[in-house]
Symmetry: C2
Subunit: 653 residues, 2 copies
């Protein structure tokens, strides 16, 4: 029997979590000693490790499991690529300027903040607002929300709620209209704001010493996949479906980055581009995920002004047309499984469908994995059907075919009228009109060609070009014959299903979902990260820095390394309790203590982070148990059956 | 007994290797369908895997083994950081412009190419030049080297050779002088070139919507480490030595990128910053590497115009002062071990010391790991002692102390004269001169203070400021007393030893060192990548696409995955021989064939890439053997003792 732990004794406290993450250097504002730059963060040792472990799991879950083709393409991109893809024209947010100070605000965020503040003020005035938890919290709330506690008319409340539910669906001019209609001003100055203007989110640069080649930093890794499509297809022996995958840095010059990792200017993404036959978007492994249950928020519900979700099996969602096709559904399920595996709380995860105007210009259907955290529901993964958009536009622009050529099992045999020209006579007879004549005849349908053939058989025929000129044709100029055509190759541009992961957002929400404080002491924070992604798996704690412990410390760390378990030694000059408390904050799931008894009897204690239970066993038994715990082949209950409880005094917290 | 393989039957052929790397999509010019951009490359599936495996080994060899603190910092960097670090002023190459066409050339490359061409022309004229291997090669040589076959005077040959040996040591104006003195012109146009000008290699951008915050893309990851030094030190419990490590993308806007991965504009680096006490640069693990033998090319040899290397034990090199200190020597040895481990040929690896002018502005000693390839010796790793430069300048600029505070075991007790001011009287008496007076007194040495004290005891004293003014001081203004000072904390700015790896260069030279062609057929290229870094470890080859093979294929791939061995199935529609030939080009070290016998008897054949030897055994024995082969616990000879030779016919090449 294992100890019961109450993780909800204290309400979630973002201030405490942020302090912990900063103190333990999970991440910190980049260039902090220079005053920092909004939207740029550095990951310290535990943050880097956590990110690397999430990436490692992602690679196994997606790339290895599905045999995807991994890519590593450049960030710096010449301008023509993003001109073709549509990013230069459309990858923009709407910003408004304070009419007096010139401060720049993101239009949709402004509307959201002001309306939410008014609704909060309304609740407060009606006396139904939750009391702020403490002074700090109160101050914080006040800063974001300057609206006075004023009761709103019921119709106004309803209107605001509808606007907020559909906010992502408004165009720039509509956002401007909202500001005017509802008197939405810059809350920091109470000044009016101007008309929304587009601001392109790509960072610009220039390539080479002459400054003549404009470049952009990619805002997503996707184009690097598409441009290499022909090579990837060849690598895959010419067959679809297959997927390419890439993990890498992208950049977006956000207008107003949020504090923290949720909206940053430089971030690590993991993107999959899965290429399918547009006429067959079924997925051969769909049956494996049919019964996965997901919480969905579809577009119709949102367009009706609601946020009501429903729980569905993926199989039903696809069968009922809620999700457009099996491949999209397969990835929605696989995304769900991945997020749960690394420790996201399934109760705080939903899939929201994009509304019509909200969808990227290329997409035909799109579902976001939204994870709930202290700021609300946050898009962490997008899963879009980009159709043939990207491959088509790049192909059209460059003249390089980005298509699949598929041998047909049964050739398609067709019979039709075929025109053959005597070009010499045609040219001699009609000179500069020859081209027009060819075009005119070749654009005729079957019936017209049959008629023309009949007339030519009579000696001559008159045709009329689109601009109304008439020409008389004779059989020495062209012949028309019925011929059999056999098509043995089918050519098509594949469609692309794109799951796209923002790793920083996932990492941050995972930290929120993992954080709690000890029931007996709110100051003692714990990050219950699953062993799979925890930065360090096992902490090795020698009771003191005595040299006689060194050989055993070395032995344990070497044996753990050989077993593939990442451990760290903490031989700092503080009490064991403090060292364990520090590692609870770092999310280290297990600790082993080496003391005098260890040296004499070759025994070690094993401590579990969440319960603080301690067990004891021989050095090798403890290493074997902790290896299995980390690999997930046993749980703590099973470990407790193998190792007796420890009730010594040296290693208590 | 294993088969002997002759890997040098055919001379190395870069054209064949490049064709292979392109055909198998190890890497390819980025944006190729848009015409490409010089210096930007995308890695395809095998290149990405090879790179990921090299990084994985690097992490184990350096970060895990030494307990380094990993970081992940941003690429986008606000301008003030690089102004302080000196990059804005000095991170530049010298370029010259063709005086007529305006074409831009890198000055040192121009001198090198022209002088090397003249020396080659001289050899040709003397009839001692090696004959070009084939027409293609001849053409290529001609393009780079337009110099006529003219005999040079012996003194001129000697002079050119001396210039080339010291080329990295010339300043911009000196390069200009060389062009004039030796009539060095643009070889493409034969026009003169102008005076060398500095071109800064950092890509510029701007951060935020207002365009007011200039930024640079980092040209190295190092500054991200230094700016976080205080946090890292705290994470390490305030102790030095320790190291931070980071793997990430960097950018340099090269003037003239070379074809291929050797000089690119965007690249992945792995950098270590090891922080040491400036008064103790010994390394506690130095004894472990003392006997590692390295080929060295020291600065004195180069400055004397020679390139003669010598082989030394690292221990001797440090003892004799060839390498500045143990920590630098330790990393030189560890770099050597890493490169050998991943497959670099030790015969083509040397460590070259930077000459005085060549060294970066911050460094006090620097050794490059240079790897030999078809273009000559190429810097792939730098190992520099950056001293306290970076931490000092950032600290001075920001006012944020980047120092170590160390408790002294024995406090240092000193006695000295201490000055105490009566500031009120001082100010009243001397007004704006008060500051000058304080400075003058406080800069006095002990003897001067004792003298002044004596004079004050007499009633008054006259002092002279640096600018010659005299002031009369009296005991009501200041008192001087002998006091005891106890210093229990020592503060110092640590020095930084920086091993810095260019992963793309290492990857490319590794490919060159691994490439050869079968003795019997030069068209059949092989990449003998070590299993440790090979993109795929085991190829699973079902004899045909029959459904009856599927369960066994699935079983083998699942078992290999569980054993941690990355495999791929090749069930394409070609012969087994062709599939193996393709995978020889991909560097896959082992292959297993599943045929009818496998299904009936549960046996499989195991093929070794280099020898093409085939052995046979039960499915589980083959899986066990290949797992050990990949993990390096047995070699092919041992595998052959376990598994009998196979002399069947189905799976021959």
């Amino acid at each position: 029997m294992t100890t019961q732990v109450n993780k909800t004794a204290h309400a979630f406290d973002k201030v405490r979590l942020d302090a912990l993450l900063n103190r333990r250097f999970f991440y910190a504002p980049a260039f902090e000693i220079y005053g920092g730059v909004a939207g740029l963060y550095d990951y310290g040792p535990p943050g880097s490790s956590l990110q690397a472990n999430i990436i490692d799991q992602w690679r196994k879950h997606f790339i290895v499991e599905e045999g995807m083709l991994e890519l590593d393409t450049t960030i710096m991109t010449p301008a023509p690529v993003f001109e073709t893809s549509g990013h230069v024209a459309r990858f923009a947010d709407w910003m408004v300027k304070d009419t007096k100070t010139g401060d720049v605000l993101r239009a949709d965020h402004l509307v959201k903040n002001v309306l939410e503040a008014r609704l909060a003020g309304d609740l407060e005035a009606r006396g139904v607002a939750a009391a702020p938890q403490d002074e700090k919290d109160k101050k914080k709330k006040k800063k974001g929300a300057k609206a006075a506690a004023v009761v709103l008319e019921d119709a106004v409340v309803k209107e605001y709620e509808t606007i907020l539910a559909q906010l992502d669906n408004y165009s720039g001019p509509q956002l401007g209209e909202l500001c005017r209609t509802h008197n939405i001003r810059n809350p920091d100055t109470d000044n009016e704001v101007g008309e929304p203007q587009q601001f392109n989110l790509m960072f610009t640069s220039s390539i080479g010493p002459t400054g003549q080649h404009p470049g952009y930093l990619r805002p997503e890794t996707a184009q690097g996949h598409f441009l290499n499509f022909s090579r990837l297809l060849e690598y895959n022996n010419g067959r679809v479906p297959f997927a390419s995958a890439q993990i890498g840095r992208s950049f977006r010059n956000e207008i107003s980055p949020r504090a923290g990792l949720l909206r940053v200017r430089e971030f690590t993404m993991a993107e999959i581009e899965h290429y399918v036959d547009p006429e067959d978007k079924n997925h051969e492994k769909f049956k494996e995920v049919r019964d996965v249950e997901i919480v969905l928020l579809d577009r119709h519900v949102q367009e009706a002004g609601s946020s009501a979700t429903k729980k569905m099996k993926i199989g039903d969602a696809v069968d009922q047309g809620v999700i457009a096709n099996q491949t999209l559904g397969y990835f929605v399920a696989r995304i769900y499984q991945f997020l749960i595996k690394i420790g996201i709380n399934p109760e705080r995860l939903r899939f929201r469908q994009h509304m019509g105007n909200e969808m990227a210009h290329y997409a035909t259907d799109c579902w976001d994995a939204e994870i709930h955290n202290s700021t609300g529901w946050t898009e962490c993964v997008g899963c879009a059907d980009r159709a043939a958009y990207d491959l088509s536009v790049h192909s059209a622009k460059t003249g390089h075919p980005l298509i699949v050529r598929q041998a047909l099992k049964e050739p398609i045999v067709t019979e039709k009228e075929a025109v053959e020209w005597n070009k010499k006579v045609l040219g001699k007879t009609f000179k500069q009109d020859a081209g027009t004549i060819q075009k005119t005849v070749e654009s005729m349908d079957e019936a017209a060609l049959v008629k023309l053939k009949g007339q030519l058989a009579q000696g001559s025929a008159v045709i009329t070009s689109v601009d109304g000129k008439e020409f008389q044709l004779t059989p020495d100029i062209l012949t028309i014959e019925r011929k059999v055509f056999k098509q043995s190759i089918r050519e098509f541009t594949p469609n692309v299903i794109e799951p796209s992961f923002g790793l920083g957002r996932i990492l941050y929400t995972l930290l929120e979902h993992s954080f709690w404080s000890r029931e007996q002491d709110v100051e003692r924070g714990v990050l219950s990260l699953p062993p799979l992604v925890a930065p360090t798996k096992v902490l090795i704690v020698p009771l003191s820095a005595r040299a006689e412990f060194d050989p055993l410390v070395l032995e344990v760390s070497t044996k753990l390394r050989r077993a593939g378990v990442f451990s760290r030694v903490d031989d700092s000059n503080t009490s064991i309790g403090k060292r364990y408390a520090r590692n609870d904050e770092l999310g280290t799931p297990y600790g082993v203590t080496i003391d005098f008894a260890s040296v004499q009897n070759r025994t070690m204690t094993l401590r579990e982070r969440d319960t603080m239970d301690q067990r004891i066993g021989s050095v090798d038994d403890v290493i074997a148990a902790v290896t299995e715990l980390v690999n997930g082949t046993i749980d703590w209950g099973e470990a407790c059956q193998r190792l007796p409880a420890y009730d010594g005094v040296q290693a208590v917290d």
